[in-house]
């Protein structure tokens, strides 16, 4: 008799939960373990395993996003219950252990708009870990792809041009190549200067996840909006987001001496102006300088951005198409620089 009652009680509990809210919960123990589960669903990050429906957490976008073959990106942060991120005075954001940054990549005209891949950046006690997942053909779950994979896709870029590429889902190490600071993995996008919390999120929700949400004051301009900032400001935002994760003194391209952070002196030789190639190989394109002021056609920074040849192209990872709009912005920026006197 007791057992029957227990069963009835359980059924009632389920019913009271309602079919639409089978309260999904992030498996926080799994998140904080060292595990690399073969299926993305194991983390319980989504409702109905829909990557655009976070089980918990808060969405965000970026003023200036990294170019990734014209993918639309859907981003959110899952922060453990009762814990909060905090914004430091220098604009970096400290996330508590147990945080997951979830980023799904896809195109509106591929797979009916469903993502092709979802990348997790997980803050564990041992540091940040990057895990790439590729969505299965039936779209119901995604599978771990530690070694990365190329996925054939055909899509149209905003200017209407059709692209057929073998899109590269990065391997775990490639995640780190970009997300590396002094050899440790760190988030790239979430910095106060570039970070926009979901505008639909209530103040209550913001305060639930951030100690000081008012400190999230984006300084960088919206890239494609000419009214949002000068050409130079938008060009520098572009370089910060697309290049500076490697091109900084503690990043993967530290040895190049080319440093392109928002905070670097944009007149310095280390910003590329009059800087001769170092270890560029074919990337120099027969040119003398990364940036030749007033002369984008003789600036090999442009040459490398406009190439898809792996021996030439920059960034080295994460791009199989040319970002025409980004290259045009940087061309305009260089063209408007006064020509060097020498």
């Amino acid at each position: 008799m007791k057992r029957v009652l227990a069963a009835v009680g359980a059924a009632l509990l389920c019913a009271s939960g309602g079919a639409a809210i089978v309260a999904p919960a992030v498996d926080q123990a799994l998140v904080e373990s060292d595990a690399m589960p073969p299926k993305l669903s194991a983390f319980g990050l989504f409702r109905g395993n829909d990557p655009k429906a976070p089980a918990a957490g808060i969405g965000y976008t970026l003023r200036a996003p990294l170019f990734s073959d014209y993918t639309d990106k859907h981003r959110f942060i899952s922060i453990p219950a009762g814990m909060k991120a905090s914004v430091a005075a220098d604009g970096t954001i400290a996330f508590p252990v147990g945080t997951v940054l979830v980023k799904s990549f896809g195109w509106a005209d591929v797979n009916g708009g469903r993502p092709v891949e979802t990348r997790l950046l997980i803050h564990r006690a041992s540091g940040w870990t990057a895990l790439p997942y590729i969505w299965d053909a039936d779209g119901k779950d995604a599978t771990l792809a530690l070694g990365g994979r190329r996925v054939a896709v055909t899509f149209k870029s905003p200017d209407g041009e059709a692209h057929s590429i073998r899109y590269a889902v990065p391997n775990k190490n490639q995640c780190k190549e970009c997300h590396s600071l002094n050899g440790a993995i760190v988030p790239i996008g979430p910095k106060a200067r570039n970070f926009i919390l979901d505008p639909a999120a209530s103040d209550k929700l913001r305060s639930r996840y951030f100690e000081n949400p008012a400190a999230l004051k984006p300084l960088m301009p919206q890239l494609q909006d000419p009214k949002a900032g000068s050409v130079a400001a938008r060009a520098r935002a572009y370089l910060d987001v697309n290049c500076a994760h490697c091109h900084n003194p503690a990043g993967s391209a530290s040895n190049s001496g080319l440093f392109l952070r928002w905070t670097d002196d944009p007149a310095g030789v280390n910003y590329g102006i009059g800087k001769r190639p170092t270890a560029a190989g074919r990337g120099s394109g027969g040119m003398d300088f990364a940036i030749a002021p007033g002369d984008p056609d003789h600036s090999f920074l442009i040459y490398r951005l406009e190439s898809t040849d792996p021996g030439i192209a920059m960034p080295e990872v994460g791009r199989s198409t040319v970002h025409k709009e980004g290259a045009a912005l940087l061309r305009q920026w260089i063209a408007e620089m006064p020509k060097a006197s020498h």
Partner: protein, 405 residues
């Protein structure tokens, strides 16, 4: 020549210590070239390896489309050989990544495999201390072409680097390039048909010995360049090498510093402090067997020192040299000197001591800001200076030497 040196005794003693330090759970992860998705499987193996493990590459030709990377410390990547029938990583169809293999972890041994036809660099290691490159081949199989990748073997920003018994051919910059590193040994290797055979750049404390640098544009280069995080290159010994017939026309993409290396250069020192060039065998280097120059390009780096200083040239054998000098105006100077210039060429900047009993031609351009067109070439006697105290031999951690025994 000491192609097989006296390192055996010290190395033998160290093997025991190295074995004792190995984790008990070390395992071998074998990967097969013919596995479907071999590229992905090999990359997964490199990711899942744990410290102490060996990733064993099967014999055969691996057709790879994407660059590989290793970020786990104390891992060995071992193939079945670098020659025909060995483990051949063929990147002819490469679609992504700036190199064939990238290592970013410490205490790694790479041995017994080949990397062919990468679009960018061959094997790069960055911030990878105590790395050992042993019995490897990096080659662009069509020979010298401007479309070849830049560097063959490319350690950078590392302490303790050993490159031993490798073969590199066809790099459009340097075959073996060590940049911004400390405590380096490059030995018993062959660099041929590259723009620069072996290059030590912006680095401290290096021994380059018992190598063969032949048929490159320039055989062995010791450079220091401005505006880089690590500069002030010094303490480099180049000895017991064969540096001959470096006659391949320069095929580096313009703009790169090595594009300025004249065809027919044996050893070239640019900027740097305290470089010793001794007991090498030079022959058939049409521009010069040894060239010592300042950095003569415009730069905006107040910390940079563009002059070569304390350069010592002694005890070398000089065969034919200087009969086809490929620097601007070189042919006219050679004609005026009876058909060839002396085997040692100095631009007149900085200081050097040349004790070899051969002629030295100075261009008498002590100020690096003076254009080369104002050269006043004349024989110079550099034998009277006092050489600095001889540099000590480079000693690497014993565990590194044990790995190549």
């Amino acid at each position: 020549m000491r192609f097989h040196g006296l390192r055996h005794h010290a190395a033998t003693l160290c093997i025991v210590a190295a074995l004792a330090a190995s984790p008990a759970a070390a395992k071998v992860i074998s990967v097969n070239a013919t596995t479907p998705d071999a590229n992905e499987k090999l990359q997964e193996a490199l990711i899942l390896a744990e410290p102490g493990d060996t990733v064993q590459l099967g014999a055969g030709v691996w057709k790879l489309t994407d660059g590989l990377s290793l970020d786990v410390a104390n891992v060995t990547v071992r193939g079945a050989g670098a020659g025909e029938g060995g483990s051949i990583l063929d990147f002819t169809g490469q679609q992504g990544a700036g190199e064939g293999l990238l290592v970013t972890s410490d205490d790694v041994l790479l041995t017994e495999f080949a990397v062919l036809n990468t679009k960018g660099d061959g094997i790069k290691s960055k911030g990878a201390d105590r790395i050992v490159y042993h019995k490897l081949r990096v080659e662009w199989t069509a020979g010298p072409k401007e479309t070849n990748g830049a560097y063959g073997i490319y350690p950078v920003e590392s302490s303790d680097v050993l490159i031993d018994s490798v073969y590199v051919r066809g790099a459009s910059d340097a075959g073996i390039y060590v940049g911004q590193s400390k405590n380096i040994v490059v030995r018993e290797s062959i660099a041929t048909e590259n723009v620069a055979g072996i290059e030590i750049e912006n680095s401290y404390d290096a021994d380059v010995h018992d190598n063969i640098a032949t048929k490159n544009t320039g055989g062995i280069l010791v450079f220091d360049l401005p505006s880089l995080p690590m500069q002030g290159g010094h303490n480099v010994r180049v000895f017991d090498n064969v540096v001959n017939d470096n006659s391949t026309p320069n095929f580096a993409p313009k703009g790169n510093i090595v594009a300025s290396v004249p065809t027919g250069t044996g050893v070239l020192v640019m900027a740097n402090r305290h470089v010793e060039i001794f007991d090498n065998v030079f022959d058939n280097n049409g521009t010069a067997n040894v060239m010592i120059v300042g950095y003569r390009y415009e730069h905006k780096d107040p910390k940079y020192q563009p002059l070569p200083r304390q350069i010592v040239v002694r005890g070398n054998q000089h065969g034919k040299a200087g009969y086809a000098p490929k620097f601007p105006g070189g042919d006219m100077i050679a004609a005026a000197m009876g058909g060839s210039i002396p085997p040692v060429l100095w631009d007149g900047a900085g200081n050097a001591v040349v004790l070899d009993p051969v002629g030295v031609l100075s261009l008498n351009l002590p100020d690096v800001k003076t254009p080369q067109s104002e050269a006043k070439p004349a024989p110079a006697d550099l034998s009277k200076g006092t050489p600095p105290a001889a540099l000590p031999a480079i000693r690497l951690p014993a565990a590194m030497e044990a790995k190549v025994r």
